[in-house]
Amino acid sequence: MNLTLKIWRQSDANDKGKMVDYKVTEISEHMSFLEMMDVLNEQLINKGEEPVAFDHDCREGICGMCSMFINGEAHGPDRGVTTCQLHMRMFKDGDTITIEPFRAKAFPVIKDLVVDRSAFDRIQHAGGYISVNTSGNTQDANATLISKHAADEAMDAATCIGCGACVASCKNASAMLFVGAKVSQYALLPQGQVEAVDRVKNMVAQMDLEGFGNCTNTGACEVECPKGISLENIARMNREFLSANVKS
């Protein structure tokens, strides 16, 4: 199929940037969206133009590196997939596709479609861990029983890939689904209880510092999340945050 692409081009963080139109031809419906972008870039390189910069790595939906806003949605129109898993059969011959970077004040553009998501890392530094040293004589893994239900729920929260689609989709550019998922994973496990109070307070404080917006419960994040992280994680974080503030 033949497509028109409207792509955000911005040479670096200080550039103003603009949308530029490109044509691509003979795109197979079996291609992934990023393979279509590869075709465009090969075409640009051979013409002596600068290829479009975009983040990508594992190309199997787990590393969380790819990050495009396609036709008004994070990771495009399909559900439960990242951009690298989005296939061209979702589009029709002759379509015009708008491709933009994830936009948020806390995610400044580095170049074209590449954004800086280090704000997520800093939130994790603030408390996204359990303080345990590698000693080689930690207690036996089966010494503390964990109910299957709690383990499964913690796992569901832990599947977050940190791609930032929640922030990109949210009308407020809020990071609460991301932070809620991490807080929830530890809140659901006995190992996470000891530091629970400080963890949620510190992570929320860092989140606020980074300039993310506030959650207004539109639910867009949950719909666009490639891993189906539930809004329940935000509710749980709210409870954890309240109880942490009541306790100290």
Partner: protein, 226 residues
């Protein structure tokens, strides 16, 4: 608790708490107003009680006013902050794909409700305050002394089709606001998903029945006394 209400989540709780209070007040307001349809006397009795009982006037009323102002001011502050969290807007943003219109436009439904409240205060609250606390007439009686004035004033206000029209439109926006606001307040307060489905159903019912009821009251009086 220091700094709690300065944090993003603390403010969510504050919005939710003021919303709970306002939704409860709305229910109470509706319960009294609907009396006017069935029994003018009962309506008069209830209105007089609310208008003169000290706990309502000097405790609940200030809390209500504070709640209303807080909810609006915090709503604007949050909206401003949330807008600043995305400086550069998307060229194409398909919000309808992942969220309801109501959830994305709370600020606009809220502004409509604010405009309505101004009208409502001019219509009822300012005259009430004037009669009771400036002129000092706490009797609640009509000028000629024959019975309570509340029902008469209500019926009189709904004579104008323009006012009734404005009320109807405002209540439609209230419904839209509540359609998202009800369950949103519970989500903000950390309600667990176990209860969420029933809650959402209840919220939808609330968001439709209460504003529809207010519309019914306005139309009822308009057509019955015109």
């Amino acid at each position: 608790m220091s700094g709690f209400f300065k944090s993003s989540i603390g403010r969510k709780y504050a919005m939710a708490l003021s919303a709970f209070f306002l939704m409860f007040f709305l229910l109470q307001h509706f319960a009294i107003n609907i009396l006017s349809v069935f029994s003018p006397d009962a309506f008069n009795e209830a209105s007089h009680f609310m208008g003169t009982f000290w706990a309502v006037q000097y405790v609940l009323q200030p809390i209500l006013i504070f709640g209303v102002i807080y909810h609006f001011v915090m709503g604007f502050i949050l909206e401003a902050r949330n807008r600043s969290a995305r400086v550069k807007k998307y060229a194409k943003n398909n919000g309808a794909a992942n969220s309801s219109w109501m959830s994305r436009n709370m600020i606009y439904s809220g502004l409509c409700i604010l405009a309505f409240l101004v009208l409502h205060f001019i219509d009822f609250w300012f005259p009430e305050i004037n009669t009771k606390y400036i002129q000092g007439d706490m009797s609640g009686l009509l000028g000629n002394g024959e019975g309570f004035r509340y029902y008469e004033e209500l019926a009189h206000k709904f004579e104008s089709p323009l006012r009734v029209g404005a009320y109807v439109i405002a209540f439609v926006f209230l419904s839209l606001h509540l359609m998202h606001g009800f369950s949103s307040a519970f989500q903000s307060a950390g309600a667990s998903s176990m209860r969420k489905e029933k809650l959402q159903l209840f919220g939808k019912a609330y968001a439709i029945i209460i504003p529809l009821g207010f519309i019914f009251i306005a139309l009822f009086h308009h057509f019955n006394h015109h």
